[in-house]
Symmetry: C2
Amino acid sequence: MIPLNPSRALDEMKALRALTSDENGNQRVVFTPVWKRAVDFFTAKVDELGLKWRADVAGNLWATLEGERPQTVVIGGHLDSVPNGGWLDGCWNVVAGLEVMRAYKLSGPKPPVTLKVVSWCDEEGARFGRSLFGSSAFSGYLDVEAVKVLKDKDGVTVEQAAREYGIDVNLAPGATAERNDVAAYLELHIEQGPVLEGLGLPLGAVLGTVGVERNVITFHGQAAHSGSTPMNVRKDALLAAGKMAQEIYAIAGRHKGVCTIGSVVTKPGIVTSVVEECTLTLDQRHLDAKELAAMWTEAQGAARKFAAEGSVTVTFSDLWKIYPIPFHPELTEFCDQAIVETVGKSHKLPSGPLHDAAEVCRAGIPTQMLFVQSLRGISHNKIEDTKDEHLLASVTALAKLTEKTIAWVVNKLG
Amino acid sequence: MIPLNPSRALDEMKALRALTSDENGNQRVVFTPVWKRAVDFFTAKVDELGLKWRADVAGNLWATLEGERPQTVVIGGHLDSVPNGGWLDGCWNVVAGLEVMRAYKLSGPKPPVTLKVVSWCDEEGARFGRSLFGSSAFSGYLDVEAVKVLKDKDGVTVEQAAREYGIDVNLAPGATAERNDVAAYLELHIEQGPVLEGLGLPLGAVLGTVGVERNVITFHGQAAHSGSTPMNVRKDALLAAGKMAQEIYAIAGRHKGVCTIGSVVTKPGIVTSVVEECTLTLDQRHLDAKELAAMWTEAQGAARKFAAEGSVTVTFSDLWKIYPIPFHPELTEFCDQAIVETVGKSHKLPSGPLHDAAEVCRAGIPTQMLFVQSLRGISHNKIEDTKDEHLLASVTALAKLTEKTIAWVVNKLG
């Protein structure tokens, strides 16, 4: 049995919070002095363990516990935060991962395969508007020419900011070399949603990150005087939009996905006129690409039907999309078992937000995430929190998942 | 039979259009040189007839054909327009009224009662934001202290602008003196809506001006991440608002009124968040005060129901309201008969927009309006138009209504 000590990880996490938060929340924004404090905290802990660490060409930090074989299981997270962020987001993954690595180190013999903990560089993208910098460099999906010129609100580019911390972003695509020997990737994360809290469960096994279809729907009617225009001759763009606001719940229900109309804009938007033009944004997410495509097809069909019913027309335009990234089915089962062994009951759920794990997964590496409950489903906010008992259980479950994954890798190697 | 010549009125109307329009539409904005051109055109026509005209203390222009008795039937309209307005709005009433007066003058003997044509001052309120200036001075409902300080977009006050044309607005409330001897008031107007065109009818008898209930409804939900928040735990303020967009059609249908949601604002209004707050404006109109009150009560009830269904809350705030002003039932019948005699078929309808007639009516004077069809229901726009044949018929119907009204007044006097 490994000498795992979840309380030690929690104490470290609270120390790191004290070091990097102010009255507005956590301030571990990438390439800033506060972020560097978190990096130094992490590397000092690795040093204490007598293990090696290094930064790769994309600024990802790797701590390594060498095993009997070069094949590697990686536990990942990110030390950066959004401005005024929460204390746990991304950081808890790293601290808990370090505790698992520490337990293996302190247990004495070399593990059968190599174990690494990685802190990915600039997961949030909060400063420059492009998330998953370090992990996309690793996966080979980083478009460095497009990213390096992005500026923060003070006009500082990614290239300039990274150079201050010794990173030449032009070399970042070389981080694909780190993929050598990586046999599996594990990531613990706070859920950042209300599902586990709603179910009364501390932990969940993540099925993958959902695909996103993000589009604009515009209904085109005719402005008309609110006093002199009978109801039955109106071409009311809002009437069709209002029906869409209901319909997305039916579409989401049929496919067990999520659909959100986040913004509605009415023109001319005055009290004395029927709405001539109503523009709404529709964000649809699903773990299954076919279901996601069907949801968007159904939304367009419904919009056309509602437009026809109200004698208005409708147009569509794309905003953004990404395909679903399902995790490794065997690792998902291990995760589920680890959770059951730790807290008695598990739940499998997709991740709505993206994570570094999605980048690693699409590089073809067997990947799995473990969620720990978030209180009130709130993240990216200073009130982001998770119960201590759930954080402690998450370390135990991550260690069990790591054990099972190492055994699986060893077994595959034969 | 009076020597009425509707074509003469239409020719005058077209001459006045040529005098006061540019490529953007009609420019008879109150207290401007173009408006003064229209005033001078009107007074010159009155002079040609050898009749007297004068401006009252509120700037209303009165042309008088003295009858055998001092009791007076008034035909009214307004020479001012909105900027880039239509050629007929308000002005056609005055020109057609003048033709009816001319017919009585040219027919020889004094009419049994006095006949006046009035052009009300600043009906539109387009320049200073307060409509019905002159007619509300007449009715006694003008709050001169509040109005005189209103400014146009160049910072010129009502008081300053009126003084340039010899009007001291401080004296305007004295226009109530003009009510003496006024036994009935008639007003022809373009419909400014699509009802008569939809029915294929040239003319309609107006039942009154509708009452207006104008309110703001705000649904308060909870912002939540569009990816990580399951549909069944959302507190989506837009869902309730979308139901309202449908429901107002049911409410309007039950009560045979009109309801309009003209503006919807969503907060935070971003693609990745469930709508936390959704604010909409609701404009409801009905000719019957009880029905109007019931419509607003039902709207509030529906909003509360939809809020409860979606676990959100709702608040209400007033924007503006005015009671319905029904016209005189006997005069409405005369108007209906005059229309049938002129074009074979009539239709009774309420007026959605307000008119000077509403001010006169609420001063307790028997009042009636006659509508002539508007093409496409469009007004306050350079493409505002009405078929020549309908304009001609409207002069004939106004003359018949005037005859019937004069006979009614004479009969009441005994």
